[in-house]
Point group: C2
Chain length 191, copies 2
């Protein structure tokens, strides 16, 4: 499939920012990686910031969409597939950490546009997690429970566990934490 | 109490690094804040890095020690005091985040000395959390359970919840997450 100039810019910006943070990301490196001249970039994005915000937003929406549909497109029960998706360490890059957490950490206090964008992405993830738990209630897997709070717990544990692996160097911290999340959620299992 | 030059350097370095990260911290600013000449600093620390590593290590040991003893020095039950300490938002600076997480995030991949130091601090926190749960088993508050994993869950939820507040701007995310941690731990309550 022929990738468009815009897609190449988005992909290159995402990778460069994921590796070096927004402030450490070099626009020259992004353009080189994308094989795009600066002039062509300005056709799509007015500056590095607009490119960065669009890249993180689109890549995260894509990631969320594919995870979410892979779980909810199969027939119920949804939760076994959900927790095995969360538990899948091959989907994680523990060296670089979580792209959302990194940018929240680096930029949310420094720039109102980043603050707003990251807040929106974070809220989207939580809302999708909530939908999974709501569907699990609808399918009879879980009894009625506060899925707003379970979705908070889910994102909190994912983010905390990724950080834990970065600190300890032990990937088992991640899987152990996800197992405890699953155990916590399954308390609400309908019996 | 008269503070020593060394203490003033540690305090100033800690504050400057907490606010700006290690790479963003200015040695000049630290010296100014501490009211210490560069020459005097070299009497105690060979460079910015040694000062930084010592500062984070000592300040975190102090914080951990005071939290830990405040909980375990009272007679049992320990867990109500423990969760109310964790839940106390006045002990947190959500704007700046968690000083440990910030440095793990910024430096663990870049520098082996930071990697080792942060790994040690992180492990110390986990070990102290485990001691609280072990004491709660000894005092009959909890039935026998895997306190190694509960201590992992505790640090994971604290770190993830602090990040969540940074992303959402809502401190309730933190207290809700701690409440779910308490609920999870109290499953093991001896009845």
């Amino acid at each position: 499939m022929k990738t468009t100039t815009r897609t190449r810019l988005i992909d290159a910006a995402y990778e460069e920012i994921y590796s070096h943070g927004y402030q450490g990301a070099s626009l020259g490196e992004i353009l080189k990686r994308a094989g795009v001249h600066k002039g062509s970039m300005y056709h799509f994005f007015k500056n590095k910031k607009e490119l960065a915000l669009t890249a993180i937003e689109e890549k995260m929406r894509e990631r969320l969409y594919s995870a979410y549909t892979s779980v909810l497109s199969s027939p119920p029960p949804y939760l076994p597939g959900w927790f095995s998706l969360l538990r899948d360490v091959t989907r994680r890059d523990f060296e670089r950490g979580c792209p959302i957490a990194n940018l929240v950490q680096e930029m949310s206090n420094l720039d109102p546009d980043f603050n707003r964008t990251m807040k929106g992405i974070y809220a989207n993830f939580r809302a999708s997690f909530k939908k999974v738990y709501d569907k699990a209630i609808a399918s009879g897997e879980l009894a009625a429970c506060d899925t707003e709070k379970l979705s908070l717990l889910t994102i909190v544990i994912i983010e905390g566990a990724i950080l834990s692996v970065k600190a300890s160097g032990d990937v088992k911290d991640y899987t152990d934490a996800i197992d405890m999340l699953a155990e916590h959620v399954m308390q609400y299992q309908r019996r």
